[in-house]
Symmetry: D2
């Protein structure tokens, strides 16, 4: 039987993903992505970018096209948002991570974005997966809210099968009956993925926990269990954020988190 | 606060959907959709179409663009599949229901399809929802595998908000821990939807149960609880089907089902 | 391999359960159980008993020992509650169903109760199952909140294996992520159980739905899918009930429900 | 409103539990419990006890009364099993943890066991909780398979409310749709519990993961997120174990695990 491209049986060594000559994840390199849920203004994104860079982040995240449960919620600044991310990149040197939601925006993402995120709702939007793959940029593939690990890997296979090997999986919590947390972060998925696949995997404690106080403990657990990176929502004024304020850290809280996980990263023989 | 367009508070009467002057659902009209998971050949689709029409179906379903968990599984005959559906329509008069998976195919669906289905995986593919809405054709919106009823209604709102009022909701089972059935058909969603919304709702017992013997009892329960239609997989050779054979009825079984649910449809004061 | 006693492979015919010479369930006999969540007073239980009997119920339910999530919630009238149920039985002739929660109460249940209920929380309290079995009274075994159908049948096996064949399964909803209903009534479990087992199965729409307006539609669906009975909460003053008021029907609503399901019971070739 | 006894609002400091004068958990003391799922023989339990003690365990677990899904599965050596645990205690000094399943066994547990475990299936067996509380021994209360954190704390309240403050919560995974692991270890519950309650909490990675290779990574994550102990299944011949062999570590694997988590325990400023 044909072995899937994601399978570790096909490819024993961990995948290392590069942008240009720079290794961004894999080979014990931890990817630290931080930034607001939504890009809201130049001032906002630049201030946050500067602060998270000082704390140790190496990628800036920011949503420009926002998939929202309600059509009446803020849908993002769109191209303007991508331009503001580029300004923040020029200012800080941080590479840009942003979510794509339509194949019509592929050229914009090619122009402005370094790492393209596919959100949980679109994990099995196979049309989007296939067309985004063509850009050959690294793709963060978030786990669907009730995707099995096998379905998630098969979604990654849609990208790999188009000739783009640069897939980064992202565990962001699954939907369960428990309501004390926004979703249930399934940290077991990290060792399961590491056994089945050579692909790197990062963790999003912000969406999983849904509340500020959970981010640091979940981040520590994620590092200790062997993930390759963290994507964390940071906002300079969480109480005024246009989306996800309650789960956004302040820059100061993010700085503390970065300090507090360093000893764990060292123990795991990894580096940011 | 702005009341959503789906809300029964805004629109007391049940929505009735028409194609031309013909009422297809609502106003006690039951929509009976039947056909194979995938269109496979001219012979297959025409034979099935004839048989399900004889049994009482008024719509033919058939997948031409198939979203599959694995990229290596059969992905559908694509435009050729839509053409074959059209032949079956010419032969039988049955109107056509088929699933769209990419905004690039909108013109094809405009040309060949009477009722457009949005599958469970794409329930929150808002880009697709918005663009398909523009065709102004009736849209069957399947419930996402772990969508709450509220999220599902908000996805319908994306369509309504584009000016297309012809949304048919479709309960097709949710993902739970139970493995005796493929998914867990959440029949409670029908009275909940009827309370919250004026939109019609149909049930897909085939995908929910995942096994032939469950289709008829689930169909009876669906009618008794007040649904407005049934979408059922029928294949002339289920054992050779390219997808979903184990949950496809034979035309004879479908005929029995239609006979056996008639008394229930009468009791509910509805008609096919 | 040893075939389990619950298995239809061992016992082709449906189990019929009798009390004395009277068939209470099976052989197309529908068991209609109604009454309050908790026995609260003589006046309350006797009034409800009279009213539900007039509507067609043949069993009176009432909790005397209440397992409650919080130790500070009303825990039931205990033996006094069982005595009040007996008064209602003398007054109306309705047989008594009540839930046992401790092996220490077995003698009381032997004395006062006709059909013993094991609640969802105790489905795998194997000690209780084994000891209650010895009374040789019919036992209603509710499905655990996240029990698989297989685990539920294996719990029934603990009773059957003690020599008591009089097990009535009760589907009462499973725990899922959906919050629009208290639990998700898994009506698919009825045809699955009917295929795997000869045991009768009833449905509890009150606990599953958790809201009055859902009880009648869920009851209709339950009858249409082939269940052997309904256990429904009825209270003369739901707004003052010491427990579960929001999901209790008034006697008048219960009477309507009984009228409205009769045509369905007839179609299914069953009788109360 | 009455504040629950489990609440941190009532009791700011972490609970420290002692046996005699010895602190066993709380105050940065990590409880390391190890041993077989079932006590099978004197040779087995003594060998395992010696080996896990050498590795750093301070408690020996072993099931003598086994709640099993099937009545035909091995149900434990019962009193004989408790006696063998006592021999292992005499030999090694390890204190004994074992699960109680019936109120009839309370005297035996009083005599032979140091810390009494309430299993997941009995989390809401309130009768058992209340009666076991009277012994005033420390009680490990496992989370029910689909218990919310709130329900779990309310079950603890049944114990606390009887005057026994020595409750140790145990996260052991919840039931979800994911099948790659036996259950889904909900590590988020640790920071949630730490926020809501002063009670200590340990983690059972063996039952949650269900496979050997997952135990060590889950243990690391559990320590990093702030748990107060680990309960791990260890068997000298996992391939011959009468229960749970596939998730049991060998003594050598357990020794490695203890070595590998030490740096994490140090970072967390805790000690075994």
């Amino acid at each position: 039987m044909k072995k899937e491209l994601f399978s570790r049986e096909n490819h024993k060594e961990d995948t290392i993903i590069k942008i240009g000559n720079e290794e961004i994840i894999g080979n014990n390199k931890i990817m630290m992505i931080a930034g607001p849920c939504s890009v809201e203004s130049e001032e906002q994104i630049i201030e946050i970018a500067k602060r998270v860079k000082e704390s140790g982040a190496n990628f800036l995240r920011g949503g420009a096209f926002k998939p929202r449960t309600s059509p009446y919620d803020f849908q993002g600044l769109k191209e303007e948002g991508l331009k503001l991310l580029t300004k923040a990149k020029e200012e800080t040197g941080l590479k840009i991570v942003s979510e794509i939601v339509s194949i019509e925006d592929i050229e914009l993402f090619d122009k402005y974005v370094d790492v393209i995120q596919i959100g949980a709702r679109n994990m099995q939007n196979f049309d989007l997966l296939k067309k985004v793959s063509k850009l050959n940029k690294p793709i963060i593939l978030k786990r669907g809210l009730c995707a099995t690990i096998k379905e998630w890997l098969m979604a990654a296979e849609y990208i790999l099968n188009e000739g783009n090997p640069n897939v980064i999986l992202c565990e962001r919590g699954i939907r369960t009956y428990e309501t004390a947390t926004r979703n249930t972060l399934d940290l077991s998925s990290i060792p399961v993925i590491k056994k089945l696949s050579h692909l790197p995997i990062i963790v999003d404690p912000s969406h999983a926990g849904g509340q500020k106080y959970l981010i640091e403990p979940l981040s520590k657990a994620a590092i200790a269990i062997g993930c390759d990176g963290l994507i964390i929502e940071v906002h300079n004024h969480p109480e005024k954020a246009l989306s996800d304020g309650e789960q956004s850290l302040t820059p100061t809280m993010y700085n503390d988190l970065c300090q507090n996980i360093k000893p764990l990263i060292n123990i795991m023989n990894k580096k940011i």
